[in-house]
Subunit: 130 residues, 2 copies
């Protein structure tokens, strides 16, 4: 069983907002939205984001500098993420593909490096945008 983290007020506010969106949100757009809740400064947002990423509640889409909620409710996977990104409408979906995960988990390079994390982003055109 996963340790159930207790979120603080700021963390809850920001997680709520991100979970209500099915698409990634940017830090300053989050800041704008939570000002009415008393969060006034970028750093308050970034701190909460950092924690939420750490515990796997959200993921950062690196190529977009944006944050999306992890839908995988059971296990918090902060360490193995795969996303598909539509380059036209910017729709982002988290991918859970067992076979692909296996390949990635089992990957060994020839440098003897010890991996503990990976992030994979696929780019293309979604059904609507083709």
């Amino acid at each position: 069983m996963q340790k159930q983290e207790t979120l603080t007020k700021n963390q809850k506010i920001i997680l709520d907002l991100i979970e209500k969106s099915d698409q990634p949100l940017k830090a300053y757009s989050i800041l704008f939205d939570v000002k009415k809740k008393g969060i006034n400064a970028p750093l308050q947002v970034y701190r909460a984001l950092k924690k939420l990423v750490k515990i796997g509640k959200i993921h950062k889409i690196e190529s977009r500098n944006a944050f999306i909620a992890c839908k995988n409710s059971k296990c918090q996977i902060a360490k193995a993420t795969v996303f598909s990104i539509c380059e036209s409408c910017e729709d982002v979906t988290e991918i859970h593909d067992h076979k692909l995960s296996e390949h990635l988990r089992d990957f060994k390079d020839n440098k003897g490096m010890k991996y503990n994390k990976y992030n994979l982003e696929f780019f293309g055109l979604c059904k609507k945008c083709v």
Copy 2:
């Protein structure tokens, strides 16, 4: 046969610099280094970087906002990149693994999305830092 791009003066200067480094360089560090060559503004750097990425001469390490030369001299692969990143010393290596590439190339999601590009970043500790 690949179309041989002719690089402009700024593009050459910046590619040279990046190729001389075996590690990723950041845009403003590049700017600092090329000021002596008459490149004065961030935009001049970013424009060259954009072009060099586009033609596959360099790649952007998304999680680090940095740019590394593509060592794969024969084919310019701007569309399928894999990197290993040491979280301690920040050493970055481009990975060419035939089997892994196959899996990634052949990956199909269940949303009917058409992929034309991917970027994969592995994180961990390199031999030296373990």
